[in-house]
Symmetry: C2
Subunit: 197 residues, 2 copies
Amino acid sequence: MKLKKRKTNYHHGNLRAALIQDGLDLIEEKGIPALTMREVGKRLGVSRTAAYAHFKDKAALLAAIGQAGFVEFEKAMEGAKNSAVNFAARMDAMSVVYFNWARERRAHFEVMFNALLQGGAAAETGPVFAMLKEVIREAQQSGEVRQGDPALLARVVWALFHGVSMLDRDSAESHFVRSSNEVLRSGLNAHGTSERT
Amino acid sequence: MKLKKRKTNYHHGNLRAALIQDGLDLIEEKGIPALTMREVGKRLGVSRTAAYAHFKDKAALLAAIGQAGFVEFEKAMEGAKNSAVNFAARMDAMSVVYFNWARERRAHFEVMFNALLQGGAAAETGPVFAMLKEVIREAQQSGEVRQGDPALLARVVWALFHGVSMLDRDSAESHFVRSSNEVLRSGLNAHGTSERT
DNA sequence: ACCTGAACACCGTTCAAGT
DNA sequence: ACCTGAACACCGTTCAAGT
């Protein structure tokens, strides 16, 4: 049976996408160090150097895997954001998505943030940051959150989410998560600070 | 001139300490991937495999480097803690130490936390965590911080410090840091939450 | 364009052996 | 005890070459 229209047997119509997908599977199954240019080629049935036709080097492959992760992650966060209108509920839902992602997809998560964070303060770019900013802004309008630069407050929220997910590595200590969300909520709610603009 | 008392020229009386120190220099100068069992041996004038006499494998060397880092880090944090008695000033001082360390010694910082965080929720062990807990506890006694499990609140503080230092990688955006400290302070100060115990 | 194979300069780690 | 040297099974990357 003839599988492809091509006469030659170049092994893939879309090797690039296959490399990203298989690289991702590889790191989730066996850890980041297991991702090898040679190994990923072997698994896909192409030569050890085929990946270089699509990626400048290993770092570029990893960066692409990280970006692919963010696309999915953003969708999940978007869902959490839309699951409620009230600020506290939104924050809870978004934090749950964040922590679960970090816990269940450790390796991918690490690759995602390595890709995101290299080369300066790139964290405030991208949809996730925009979402957090919007949630903050809307909550300020409804009076649920105190005044202050939404971008700055969004960074604080992100930082706490990220820090908790780092320190909480693989355990699912809901006490910690609840505590963190509480502190954050009161911190954003309070009015006793010098912030007045 | 005779340098050592030894007749043989084993190159070091204390190769172990030299490996840790030189490994540390290496990662700070050239990044973590530059730390190689072979390279560190070469730099110290011993064979490529000499390190295995003192460390089971590369991971063990890295872990030792990380631990050595924590010893210094703890000293710096201790200094910050003792620089003030009032809660807000203490938190500011400790956060400055944390952020500066993360900024100025990136590679070492990364190695430290890789070592600390592997194998479960190890973060709540060790002097740094104990210090944070103590600061919180004292501030609760003086009425500066609301009630609640000091261990839990200390974790939240650590998580925010850590998250900020991650997201803020190499820039020194004091706005972000100030904002974060403010949110944290009001979060710990507030009383409007369900926390009543 | 897309892919291969050989080649180069590296790795971590093991192990028999030396002092 | 502490260290060496050879050896093994890997890497990332380059490059001339094939279709």
